[in-house]
Amino acid sequence: MARLRGRGMSSMNYPIGMNLGGDPSQALVHSNPSGKFTVSLSSIDLGQGMKSVTRQICAETLGVPVEDVYVDTADSDTGPHCMGSFASRGTHRVGNAVMAAAREARGVMMEAAAEELEVNVADLETDGRGNIHVKGAPHRSISTKDVAIAAQFRQGRTISGRGIFLVPLSDVDPETGEMSPATCYAHACLVAEVEVDDETGEVAMVRMDSAYELGRALNPRLVEQQLVGGAWMGISHALYETPEPYYPDPSHGPRDFVEYLMPGPGDICPHDITVLERPAPDGPFGAKGPGEMCANPVMPAIANAIFNAVGVRMDELPITPEKVLRAIKAQGGARPQARR
């Protein structure tokens, strides 16, 4: 009886946004009279950071500090339509809508500034710290606050913008399945190392190394939270979770978190993540979306690592100790494969 180690890997891609498109999102951006901006959305922040990522996109596009932008969501009376927070669409779809709205608002802001400074609008740039100045002449400058006051009380302009992003709905050919499912894809590869106890069938995680290509990490901390949390979910899906442990027999459903198993702090493992950025041509600053795909590579990588450790193929999820042990016994004992 022994604890045997093995390594397995998987690689994959993931489509961004609703399959076939046809899933619009809108955004409104406006400034108050002191040059502070509000982004109005109806998108949902599930904890993934919807408010924060759209806030950064808006600030970057406007050319103002992120502290000057606040994201208000989701009130159906004030926020314009959004399809919803799913299908890894938030950053890509809503981000693009916010970018479009912010670009329009920036246009008005720059025109108002040009009028105040009595220069051509094409000669102006933002410094990202709340000022607009003449290119090459930083002393000829006006704060966004003074621009907003002037626009509201002297010029009678609205520093505001509307944005929508829509990938037009694709047809599906009934006979061949020809279609345009998505405009861009995120990518991943993950290596999992496990230790399998051939006496109990228990699988312990040892470590994971991964590479994710996400277009652009708009906020590396939010990306990290998704990838770390998603990998946890991947371990959980691979080794622990199901409300129907004897599927397709529906009996023995769980009623609480004592009966519904998920990995605790002692069941996870170190995970070294690398992020690659190949910008999507139609992503906001090239961004795709890490939300969904991060759980996917973990499951097959673990199954493949178990094969490497003890020589059994686990083709049914979740891979419980019972299933592993039965497979090892059916095979007449663990059969470790070549170490990697």
């Binding site: 129907e244 995970h271 996917n296």
Partner: protein, 529 residues
Amino acid sequence: MLELRKDIFADERDDNLKEIGKPTQRQDMLGHVTATSVYFNDHKLQGMLHLKVLRSAQSHARIRRIDLSEAERSPGVRRIIRGADVPRNLNTLLSLINFGKDDEPALAVDKVRYKGEPIVAVVADSEREAFEAVAKIRVDYEPLPTVFDVEEALKPGAPVINETYPKNTFTYHDIYDHQKIRFGDVERGFAAADHILEQRYQMSPIEHAPTETNGSIAAPDTNGRYVVYTSTQALFFSLDTCAKILDVPSNKLHFIGGTVGGGFGGKVDTVTEPLSILGAMLTGRPVRYMIGREEEMLYCAPRGAERIFIKDGVSRDGRILARQFRCLFDSGAYTRLSSYAAVKCAAHLPGPYTIPNVYAEVYCVFTNRVPATAMRGFGVTAVDFAIECQMDKLAHLVGMDPMEFRLINAYRDGDMKAHRREAKNTALIECVQVAAEKAKWPMRDEFKRMSSLKDVGAPRAATPAPQPARESILVNRPAGQQRTVYDRPAPPPPEPIRPTPQPPLSSPPAAAPSHGAIRFSSVFGGRRR
């Protein structure tokens, strides 16, 4: 630990940005860590009532009679709602995007199709009183035969679960019981292959398990409007669904949400809002309908189970020549969103690899279980599990390193995908290379030099001439025989299987058809002919 590899694809990016790419603290961080962020359930409204539903005790049954007499007299009960009280008591979620037929009632009327299906809603002064009244409702059921297995549900003569779809399958393009992918000619690909591998995979249902369970609070507002605080993942999707079911103009409803305690796909179905709004309409009081943890785990939509059959033909130099794929999505008793996932699954095939011949059939199948719904990776997660386990087996079969095997088959810019669109902006190869480097997984130099931008297009994806003298491949074998070689009870010889040395990439293997192909199938196991 997270590392950014800015050196890769650097020429495709402008990294001279001020706010993008910065690890800025979340806008809502302070609220979250000080427990002052407002979630839907933080709205304690004056005079608020509580709604609970009676759920079916049967998986499939005709409802003969519902006796409410005792429940109506139960203390604290303000209103009992039945299916007949729901203005449009039949809906399908994706009718909002004109996909599928209305097939699910808010409250069951003549029949229940899964254990836990809501039949009657009780609105009472307190949750406890609502539960007590629910317990006093008597339902007389006439049990019907049940089906829980997707393959059983597809058999002729299987009990009809959802009368909207009498064949127990969702209808695609008005004519088909599945979504197809047809690309190249798989039979030609199999004929040209040195090995065939046919396998079966199964993913079980999964509970979303968000910190905050599903729920909503609806309250009468001025001017005949209703304000709704909700945990929905899709504000207007839920609003428009409610407007349809309750048959009111959408501007009568004012939805407020946006701060949600996790969703993972489990908060799109809009199961609480129609009833809490209807409760508010019928009582003139705020009504809260919060689903408890046990209810959510047992009776609210999980990620659906999927059964997947893959048959691949691979050449001995490691190229996948054909992939045949059959997937059965277990939708449960109603469509919800599974019909959409099946098309997304078809679009995802054959995975991020360039395979010249692909054939797929993806079914959305009805069974007598809790309806399935979206979950993180919807339509793709189980498919990726199956494909990536299959890739590992194929690499083993041809004696190749699994990383290098993937790199040989990885899609690149300009490759044609099975849904007949050119691949672009790909980065699978670079991810594999970086992960290998990170994990200190040995990789030969020629593989380290590969790129998503090089060696693209048709020549790599050509189908070679067929191998002579091979028996035709069995397809559509009965499900019971779809066993993998790996779980056969009688094990082959006990010595460890060592990968055989592989030929270098630069010199293609000599055509040696004399010893025939290795077949792996559930019927015959692995053997050489």
